[in-house]
Symmetry: C2
């Protein structure tokens, strides 16, 4: 049942959280049961779905260190088929506390086992680093969705990320595959966007999603209202593009 | 002599590297001797100044773990008054190797002591996290320059960053002050930019630089040519805004 998809890229600000929140919400709107796990101590996925991250008890941190069972950390969102496991800055503590535990990379994978079959899709939002929290997320996942901004520094970082994924495949999670590369914040008016897009498509061919997420200010307004784009402005190009991405993911899985 | 200014914000993609490269280059153009220390394993400041990060030996990693003296890691850039200490992905190793050292937060401060007086300004670019590399940079610094995007998630993270700065002031670096808050990627066409800017100015008053960095595609094109904006396109609004920021920093220090 449940497909676990980690959304990762150590380059900062490429649209990991925006993609995690909106692709999960769009799949939920299409009737798929989804869970979003916020593994970033910034807690942006948590506030992006309207939760107060300082008030959610227990959160993923307590679950990872064994202080709470995972089903008590699951929060129902305002969307019927979408649940969340929240996080906040306490999660930074896990990077230190997990370091001395045997099989520290397997903690997230182990806690997700008991609830995995309750959902069709489980998305994991990660911080902009390749530390223990992202490592846990790559080990727990079956596939990795890589958002990438159409910018030079983002392209430069892709090699480092793919290198880390290969390491994880070699040592701890041989079944890990790249689900897809998603071009985000595409601005059709600039040469830079066109050049970077052409380069990525040349390198990664059909691994790149057909759907390209355009630069759309409605996407950056929505989090301040704690809503995914489809509840904030269903007619925006941002909403259209994430709905199209959700359909593309479902079609790759063989349709509804 | 040398003022050490760390550029930090754990939120990803807010313009830390773009600010580090360009404010250092503008001050160098105005005749100030500057050093840029790249403390981010992504090595974006290093490639943003035209260096191949995989070929720079030694880099800041070898200096931090005591394998090379700092003066051998200093690279001359194509600008007369601007030097760089490069980094690359090996720097991730420092987070692990430094953990078990006594006074692990003081390593960068200690290595900078011997060269501090050779420069008027030393800027430190940091990764998007509050881990050991950023901690080292906050302890080494006299002031912190905080770039912040005019976006909701960036505003949300500011509290966490100021909390960490207070912790560092309390325990290890009592003299650390906030140099200033710099608004970046400002898009005058959107309400969001106007709202976030108004909120930040209300909270932080004269700590906020007068200079606001606009969204300017030339700033994101420049790194692919390995040049700061003033060498890539001196007539762009991006170049004008960073020159104005450099003048503002000099004026706050009492003029040339
Ligand atoms: N397609 C888009 N159009 C306009 N703004 C966007 C788009 N995608 C994301 N944003 C905005 O850009 C900023 C960065 O996006 P986001 O926070 O999702 O990236 P991230 O990779 O999760 O960042 P971090 O590395 O800090 O976790 C946010 O303020 C977000 O609202
Ligand atoms: N004022 C601006 N106008 C347009 N693009 C910008 C501007 N400032 C930065 N950029 C671009 O936005 C992206 C993010 O900027 P940058 O990499 O400097 O942020 P950062 O905070 O250093 O990111 P990280 O958290 O990954 O270290 C880069 O691709 C950069 O070229
Ligand atoms: Mg995020
Ligand atoms: Mg950077």
């Amino acid at each position: 049942m449940g497909r676990i998809i980690t959304i990762a890229n150590q380059k900062g600000g490429v649209g990991k959280t925006t993609t995690a929140v909106n692709v999960a919400a769009c799949l939920a709107m299409l009737g798929q049961d989804c869970l979003l796990v916020d593994m970033d101590p910034q807690g942006n996925s948590t506030s992006g779905l309207g939760f107060d991250k300082h008030k959610c008890e227990p959160n993923i941190y307590e679950v990872l260190i064994g202080k709470a069972p995972i089903d008590r950390a699951i929060q129902k969102t305002e969307m019927e088929h979408l649940d969340l496991i929240p996080s906040n800055v306490t999660l930074t503590g896990a990077e230190i506390e997990l370091v001395n535990i045997e099989e520290r990379e397997l903690q997230l994978k182990n806690v997700l086992t008991s609830i995995k079959d309750n959902y069709k899709y489980i998305f994991i939002d990660t911080p902009p680093s390749l530390g223990l929290l992202t490592l846990n997320s790559l080990v727990a996942a079956e596939t990795v969705l890589i958002p990438i901004q159409c910018e030079y520094y983002a392209l430069e970082g892709l090699g480092q990320l793919l290198g880390t994924i290969t390491l994880v495949q070699g040592k701890i999670n041989p079944d890990l595959k790249v689900e897809g590369i998603l071009l985000t914040m595409f601005d059709a008016r600039t040469n830079l966007s066109q050049q970077i897009t052409a380069e990525i498509k040349k390198c990664f061919k059909d691994k790149v999603y057909q759907t390209i997420i355009p630069c759309n200010v409605r996407l950056s307004e929505a989090p301040s209202f704690g809503k995914p784009i489809i509840l904030y402005d269903i007619n925006s190009t941002g909403a259209e593009s994430y709905i199209s991405l959700a359909r593309e993911i479902i079609n790759r899985d063989g349709g509804l």
